[in-house]
């Protein structure tokens, strides 16, 4: 009791009791090989931490009542160093030069590549894929690195958050896309050598470079001066997305006259990756130039890009993987002239250039100003067809399950099992059909002339999500006196997208016509309805021509934030606030025949004013025990992506569009002893008033019914508003070093992420002006958030040999992978006439989940030194037990047959964790 009072007094009355004087610890962290200073190394004295400056220098203030200071110095390029300093008197302790040995850089690389998965976007309209790679890496926090490497490949997400809740900075500018808030990791894929300088923080604790979202932030520093001087060449072999990787990096280190240069490039490729029919063909390039002006100013220019072209894969239904005998059945490819060709090819190249200026002013002030420009293409191909049969082999009407029992069903089943040409696309056949097609198009191009020839029945279209983005941010960081740290920023972001589709390949035909085949059928009396663009009716299309839809999202965002951290010997207080204005509008480049009045030209501008506050405190109970609590409340403008009901065809806004509200709190306890570290966190977050627009392609030959309405063919859009979500859970990490060469880890992430409101749905389609459903209540409350394990556990064992090798085993357990639900099945209409509690009722309302899964991973490496050269050998093997039944996600199809009320008519689709995969890397460095 006395102890507690004493503690309280110590906290509340500065100067009481301990008469806490301050102790200054300083030193310079240097490369043991070259003797050069190491910038951005993390220096952690348990009660306080800091980062080294560009010369490797650091200063740390500590309460003076310490006798021993345990310092941990970490930089991703170097081996971690622990150092104990005994305090003799209260004064400035200068540790002089602290030398770090270059680390085996490749372990992280290996783990990163094995932890990378490619998310195939479900049925949503965006065909671009998103690589989620090492989401939060190079952190010395065991929980964070485990979440990134060990859990990442199972689609684990920290606290169940979507990626828009975490801000990623590249050399000082935020790079989350304004359109949907998500970072596109693939933009710097293959540049692992130069993006290793990162710092990640999870959760709500204050950061001096970001008023982060509730998920935290990651900052990546790729500047030439931050790269260690080296020439590094590596070759990797893997059996995941790609088979081979070559990577080379050269960094000059500081040159004369304040210059520094770093270049890097890589090539990743596979004729076929883990999944059949998926090729991978990626390059990357990087150039960074630094120039120092005197001691206080520094200018950096970085240009990087990663052109990636790859073949995609599908999520499969149970029937298909039973017929084909593999959980990795991919319907997207087929044979053309005997060669495998994938119909869904993403081609992404969105290079970014960043110019950054750093100005050290006063004693410790820093003003960082950065401007970035990003542009490029992001597209994915798909088949389109007109007056022809669905070419996709897995179209549900072609499957045995669609057929009545009988001899023909048996023959079809046998064909599916035994004949690969039945399982896959038949490109040759598509060409044959186009070769034989002949049509005369009257009033072609609206000019009255007639064009005749091979009108393609099948084409390959490319759906494009191109964009240009300009970012500006100025960041001010400065301590005032000994106790107050202030940081503040001002930023402006501009985004212009270009969303359209174009003819990629006529597949042997001579032309295609810009006609809306669905409207042509649904509105036979309105000749205009079939025109996608009234300004260019009956347009004859050749390869490269835009068609279908064409619009530009325009988004502008201005923001500003400020943050204060007030340090007392036993307690830190932090407080921050943010304000922002987001404006966006749609600009249509086509005048749709169905929506002549609201498809062409600039729409009304939507404007949102948002704010956020956060604060918290950190209790430094003693040098082993820490307690912290943080809270935040913020509002967030809806993303453009979720603001328009059917942005492809018109500028109709989701009714009642408003900002989302987010409330979050967390409590952390940290214990740090020399051989044992422990962290436990509890968090609770509520999302309110969320908006989401989901689209799916309705390709029924006969329009399917939704309630009493008949939904027309083509894209169907669901807009959900008033979505509420609740994320709560705990994170626990234990790290134990029983000896200097052995490390035992245990990590648990236990979560419950659910919907906790009943959203409202509106349903419209791209091909019909009527609103099919309005204000329908979706009974979504208490359904689980999908697509990730809600809980994940690992036990890790690591052996570090003095003879320059290491080996790690991780035994992992995942649970709580729920499938994405179809909102329209959680309605009164979907279960009407069914008795509550009956099997049919449960089948519609139940939420499917994957079985809990166990996986085992191995990482190991060895380094060799030959004079000034190093050779590193690393091997990672993921899922050693080759568990191919681990469902990592999936979704209920958004189509539902209201007539039969049978959810099995359009069965669930699943993604499976890759079986045993490896990543082998050999690198050479000097």
């Amino acid at each position: 009791m006395n102890k507690l009072l004493f503690l309280l007094a110590a906290i509340l009355l500065p100067g009481f009791g301990l008469r806490a004087q301050l102790l200054l610890v300083q030193g310079t962290v240097k490369d043991a090989g070259t003797g050069r200073g190491i910038p951005n190394a993390h220096v952690d004295a348990q009660l306080a931490d800091t980062y080294t400056d560009e010369n490797g220098r650091f200063e740390l203030e500590l309460a003076a009542d310490l006798t021993d200071i345990r310092l941990t110095i970490f930089h991703p390029d170097y081996e971690q160093l622990q150092k104990t300093v005994t305090v003799k008197e209260f004064e400035v302790i200068d540790l002089g030069d602290i030398l770090l040995k270059p680390a085996d850089a490749d372990e992280e690389d290996t783990r990163l590549e094995l932890g990378t998965i490619t998310l195939e976007d479900l049925e949503s309209q965006e065909e671009s894929s998103q690589e989620v790679s090492g989401l939060l890496t190079a952190s010395r926090d065991l929980f964070v690195s485990t979440a990134a490497y060990t859990f990442g490949s199972a689609r684990f997400r920290i606290r169940g958050y979507d990626s828009e809740n975490t801000t990623i900075y590249l050399n000082g500018v935020p790079v989350n896309r304004l359109e949907n808030g998500r970072p596109y990791w693939s933009a710097w894929g293959g540049l692992n050598d130069v993006t290793r300088n990162r710092h990640t923080q999870v959760g709500l604790a204050p950061m001096d470079y970001s008023f982060n979202g509730i998920g935290g932030a990651t900052t990546i520093d790729t500047r030439a001066l931050s790269q260690r001087k080296q020439l590094r060449v590596s070759y990797s072999s893997s059996n995941r997305s790609y088979r081979n990787r070559l990577m080379a990096t050269w960094s000059s280190g500081p040159l004369k006259n304040g210059w520094a240069v770093s270049v890097s490039g890589s090539r990743r490729w596979a004729q076929e990756g883990y999944v059949e029919g998926t090729f991978y063909d990626a390059w990357s390039y990087f150039l960074s130039i630094d120039k120092k002006f005197g001691e206080s100013q520094r200018l950096n220019l970085t240009v990087l890009g990663a052109p990636i072209r790859r073949g995609r894969s599908t999520a499969a239904i149970a029937e298909l993987y039973q017929l084909t005998g593999t959980h990795y059945y991919n319907s997207y490819w087929g044979f053309q002239n005997g060669k495998k060709r994938n119909s869904r090819v993403s081609t992404i190249h969105q290079p970014i250039a960043i110019l950054r200026h750093d100005w050290n002013f006063g004693k410790n002030g820093l003003l960082t100003t950065a401007v970035s420009f990003q542009t490029g293409r992001n597209g994915s191909t798909a088949l389109d067809w007109y007056d022809a049969r669905d070419p996709r082999p897995n179209y549900y009407r072609y499957l045995p399950s669609f057929l009545d029992d009988g001899p023909m069903k048996e023959l079809v089943t046998q064909a599916w099992i035994n004949d690969q040409t039945v399982q896959q696309l038949d490109w040759d056949e598509l060409y044959q059909v186009n070769y034989e097609s002949y049509e005369e198009i009257e009033n072609a191009n609206g000019t009255g002339e007639t064009v005749a020839g091979r009108r393609s029945k099948y084409i390959l279209e490319e759906r494009r999500y191109d964009s240009k983005e300009l970012n500006f941010q100025s960041l001010f960081q400065m301590p005032f006196g000994k106790r107050l740290d202030v940081s503040a920023a001002l930023g402006y972001r501009m985004y212009q997208g270009d969303n359209y589709k174009l003819v990629n390949d006529l597949l042997g035909g001579e032309f295609y016509v810009d006609i809306n085949r669905f409207a042509e059928r649904d509105f036979p009396d309105n000749p205009d309805a079939a025109q996608n663009d009234l300004n260019n009716p009956n347009r004859i299309l050749k390869v490269g021509d835009r068609f279908g839809y064409d619009y530009n999202p325009n988004i502008h965002k201005a923001y500003s934030w400020a943050q204060l951290v007030y340090h007392l010997p036993r307690i830190d207080f932090s407080l921050g606030a943010q304000v922002s204005n987001t404006r966006f509008w749609r600009e249509g480049d086509m005048k749709s025949g169905l929506f002549p009045d609201n498809s062409f030209g600039k729409s009304e501008v939507q404007s949102f004013l948002n704010y956020g506050v956060k604060g918290g405190l950190l209790l430094k109970i003693n040098n082993r025990n820490y307690l912290s609590a943080y809270g935040a409340y913020l509002t967030r403008a809806p993303f453009f992506r979720n603001a328009y009901l059917s942005p492809r065809t018109r500028d109709q806004i989701v009714e009642g569009l408003s900002s989302e509200e987010i409330t979050s709190g967390e409590l952390n306890y940290i214990y740090r002893a020399p051989a044992l570290k422990f962290r436990a966190t509890g968090f609770y977050t509520k999302f309110r008033n969320g908006t989401r627009v989901m689209s799916f392609f309705n390709d029924e030959e006969i329009a399917s019914d939704i309630g009493d309405e008949t939904i027309s063919l083509g894209f169907v859009n669901f807009a959900l508003t008033k979505i509420g979500k609740r994320h709560m859970g705990a994170e626990i990490a234990v790290e134990w070093h029983p000896t200097s060469f052995l490390e035992l880890d245990a990590v648990a992430a236990i979560g419950q992420y659910i919907y906790d409101t009943r959203p409202t749905a509106t349903i419209v389609t791209d091909n019909n002006p009527s609103v099919f459903v309005k204000d329908r209540t979706i009974y979504l409350q208490n359904y689980y958030l999908p697509g990730m394990p809600q809980s994940a556990y690992t036990l890790g064992l690591r052996y570090n040999s003095k003879k320059y090798w290491f080996a790690t085993f991780n035994l992992n357990y995942f649970d709580g992978v729920w499938l994405d639900v179809n909102p329209n099945r959680r309605t009164e209409e979907a279960v009407s006439t069914l008795r509550p509690g009956s099997d049919a009722w449960k089948a519609i309302l139940g939420q499917d989940r994957g079985e809990p899964a166990v996986t085992l991973d191995f990482f190991g490496g060895k380094s060799f030194k030959f004079g000034d050269y190093f050779i590193y050998l690393n091997l990672g093997v993921s899922n050693i037990l080759d568990n191919q039944n681990f469902i990592t996600g999936g979704y209920e199809q958004l189509r539902f047959d209201f007539a039969s009320q049978d959810p099995g008519r359009f069965p669930n689709r699943y993604y499976f964790y890759y079986g045993r995969t490896y990543f082998l890397n050999i690198s050479f460095r000097m």
Partner: protein, 425 residues
Amino acid sequence: MNISHKILLSVLAVFALAFPSCVDLQFDEPPAADVCTLDATHTIADLKAMHTLGQTELISEDIVIRGVVVADDRTGNWYRSIEIQDETAGIQLRFGITDLYNNFPIGREIWVRCNGLELSDYNGLIQLGTIEEAVLDDFICRGDGGKDIQPTVVSMADLTTDMVSTLIQLDEVQFELADAGQPFADPVNLQAINRVLEDCNSQHTVLVRTSGYSDFAGQKTPVGSGTFIGILSVYGDEFQFLVRDPEELAMDNERCGPGSGTGLTSLQEDFQTGVNNEDIDFEGWLNLAVKGTRRWQAKEFDNNVYAQATAYNSSDAENECWLITPAIDLSEPRTLNFESAQAYWNHDGLSVWISTDFDGVNFDDATWTQLSCTLAGENDPYHEWVPSGAVDLSGFSGKGYIGFRYVGDPVNGTTSYRIDNVNIQ
């Protein structure tokens, strides 16, 4: 240049050399598919002979038939089916899939491996199927296209069951007056419609059935007479034809039958062959409901049959119906006589008109001139026949049609009108 630069350059050179050939993404356009040929083991007639009506036979022998596609689903009048024929017969092939014309257009020679397929019939129409997408190439071998089959020219009287599912040509036929110039089917409600085709040289008729889903459902049937081409089908005991494409119908000659040519030189109609309480349906006569649904009906009283129109108890807001004679030759001066009567008078609803530019079908396009004559009126006793007096038609020339027009409504225009003994000399 120091050592590291040399290494860098050599590494870059290795990269540059090693990369371009890594991933092969070049795809040549495939050549046109090989033409398949098989030896037919059976004729289509042989195969059809294996079927017993009303039964389903699963074929378990290695039977191969050959045929040329004579009907496909391009215009939508066939759905999930095509018709093939050889020298002996034709048969319908059934599929579980659509857009078959992209693979099996009219004129393509194909071979069907029948082992595993079922023979069945739909109300007498023998079908072979049902072939699904996954096994398409297992059952069908595709030969050359462009082998257009010439239709068999027969007369309606000579149609036989053997000709079902083959391409047939009928010469000198026309759609019945009530079905001429009418839509082939109902594209709005997607309903199939049967239209009657009549032979100019006999009393035979045959149905022409068109799907509401066909592209030409909304197109009008030809008005004139001439050559009809279609696939013979059967429904129960009755033959019916399906049109492949209305472009194939060469039916723009003058209509045949009563009123054809220059028109009738005389006409005498006492309506005695009419059936009591049924709409008048006499050869050559048109009985049109222009407003509402009511038409002229045959009525019998005291062994006399006559034509009557009334709006009494009508469920329509308004009624207008016309009874139009066959075409009359007006190159000579003609005279019209008839009798009229009324009952329950509350309005004047009857009038008599003539048109000399009516084509016999398209009522709305014609110009009609009212004729003056004596009609039963308010002051005549109910049901008393009133002679029209001789109506002089000499002021008109060419080909003329006389129209008896009744207008009324169920509230204030319920008078019944009758006409009888129409006589033109």
